[in-house]
């Protein structure tokens, strides 16, 4: 019996992927946990409506076409967009410009950070609702809080002790070429994002040239914020070793790169378990 099977689970199709929730209720009634997950899913759908570059009438699509400014958006939407753009600015600086939503073909494109931001917000809403521990995986980019359940039947996860971090969550990083294997397993205390081109083709754009690139086979970043980790993983996949050096200088974040030739390098602080 694993933590996954003892917890309350839910999957939601949104933002072009599947978001999965695993929550350990602690003292909370199961119905309250399910209600918290439902509310978190509403937030995910709303984020998609605001930030989708595929929906022509979305606020971000209108921003891209220059039809509106952030200030002209409805106040609630403007606050969310401003928050995301502020995070984009931080991620751009932390990645030495390898992540740059303002340099994308077709105009402003914060997509590389938005999913991580939305998933992080969903997890935070569960925490605020009193859920003891949870893991939210947004199509391979995930964040967790509390501690995973011990490997004993009948015991759910537990919140971290006050002032102490919880036990780590063991997360496999998908192998870039062997879909039936993991490249490695890392201990994650908050968030991990992995960016790669193995499934969706060359969807990564070099901000410097505006052209698709594949500098990395797989690029993973751990850290306290999934929004930032998501953006930095995108940067790492495009910028390779130079982006890795930048991530190594960013407090709280660690990077792990599998280069296109299969060689590997990391920033030194990632907790590999094998």
């Amino acid at each position: 019996m694993t933590a996954l099977a003892t917890g309350i689970t839910h999957t939601e199709e949104v933002m072009g992927t599947v978001i999965s929730f695993t929550a350990a209720p602690g003292g909370l009634p199961a119905a309250a946990v399910r209600a918290a997950i439902a509310a978190a899913c509403q937030g995910l759908h709303r984020a998609d409506e605001v930030f989708s570059t595929w929906i022509a009438g979305s606020p971000v699509s209108r921003l891209r076409r220059g039809e509106v400014t952030v200030a002209e958006l409805p106040p609630e939407v403007a606050a969310e967009v401003a928050e995301v753009l502020d995070l984009c600015q931080r991620a751009k600086a932390a990645s030495r410009g390898w992540f740059d939503p303002w340099a994308m073909p077709g105009g402003l494109d914060p997509t590389g950070l938005v999913k991580g931001w939305a998933v992080e917000r969903a997890a935070n809403s569960l925490r605020r609702a009193g859920v003891a521990a949870a893991l939210v995986n947004g199509g391979g980019d995930l964040t967790a809080f509390g501690s995973p359940a011990p490997e004993k039947p009948g015991q759910a996860g537990q919140p971290g002790l006050p002032g102490q971090p919880g036990l780590p969550w063991r997360v496999g990083i998908r192998h870039p070429w062997r879909a039936d294997a993991l490249a490695c397993v890392v201990n994650v205390r908050a968030a991990i994002a992995t960016s790669a081109s193995y499934e969706r083709g060359a969807h990564l754009i070099d901000p410097a040239t505006g052209l698709p690139v594949t500098a990395a086979a797989s690029a993973s970043v751990t850290g306290p914020s999934l929004a930032i980790a998501d953006a930095l993983a995108t940067a790492l996949a495009v910028g390779g070793d130079d982006a890795l050096a930048a991530i190594g200088e960013t407090d709280g974040y660690e990077g792990y790169l599998i280069r296109a030739d299969g060689s590997e390098v990391d920033t030194g602080g990632m907790e590999f378990t094998n």
Partner: protein, 163 residues
């Protein structure tokens, strides 16, 4: 330094979620997991990228008690065509998942499907016993697979509820 090295199957959060869901919905406590798909091996940390696939998924059809139920999900679109998934449940446990039908519309994606689908089977089976909590790095094919699997599982639940 000797480092214990284990080969792992992929367990996506989404599919693990479904396995958890099936255990939850079908009631009865899940049986002890004796056959986890985690064959051991040895290696060094510097060989991280070469983790090989292990053989032998967990959940043999003979494991556990209870009645056997099977259901096939509908054809569901995925990025390269359509897929229908067949699931076999014994008691509260998924004992097999197979592809009932797959139609790939883009020839070059045959490789992707051939690679991903056995993995997804492993994911579903091993989600019930794997000792990792989730996986970072998406499997794109999994979306259609999950949709069809979910429909098949819902069908089983409906039958179970109806007697």
């Amino acid at each position: 330094m000797t480092v214990k090295r284990t080969s792992w199957f992929i367990v996506t959060g989404a599919i693990a979620g479904f396995a958890g869901t099936v255990a939850f919905h079908l009631g009865a406590a899940a049986p002890a997991t004796g056959a986890s798909g985690a064959p051991g091996g040895s290696g060094s940390p510097s060989a991280r990228g070469s983790a090989a696939a292990g053989a032998g998924a967990s959940g043999s059809p003979s494991a556990g008690g209870g009645a056997v139920h099977r259901a096939t999900g509908p054809d569901v679109n995925f990025s390269y065509g359509t897929i229908a998934v067949r699931v076999t449940v014994r008691g509260s446990r998924i004992v097999d998942v197979s592809v009932a039908a797959i139609h790939v519309t883009e020839p070059e994606s045959g490789r992707i499907s051939g690679q991903a689908i056995p993995v997804l089977r492993s994911e579903v089976l091993d989600a019930q016993s794997a000792s990792i909590h989730s996986v970072s790095g998406a499997t794109y094919t999994s979306r259609g697979y999950i949709s069809s699997l979910n429909a098949a599982l819902n069908d089983l639940r409906t039958k179970a509820a109806g007697g």
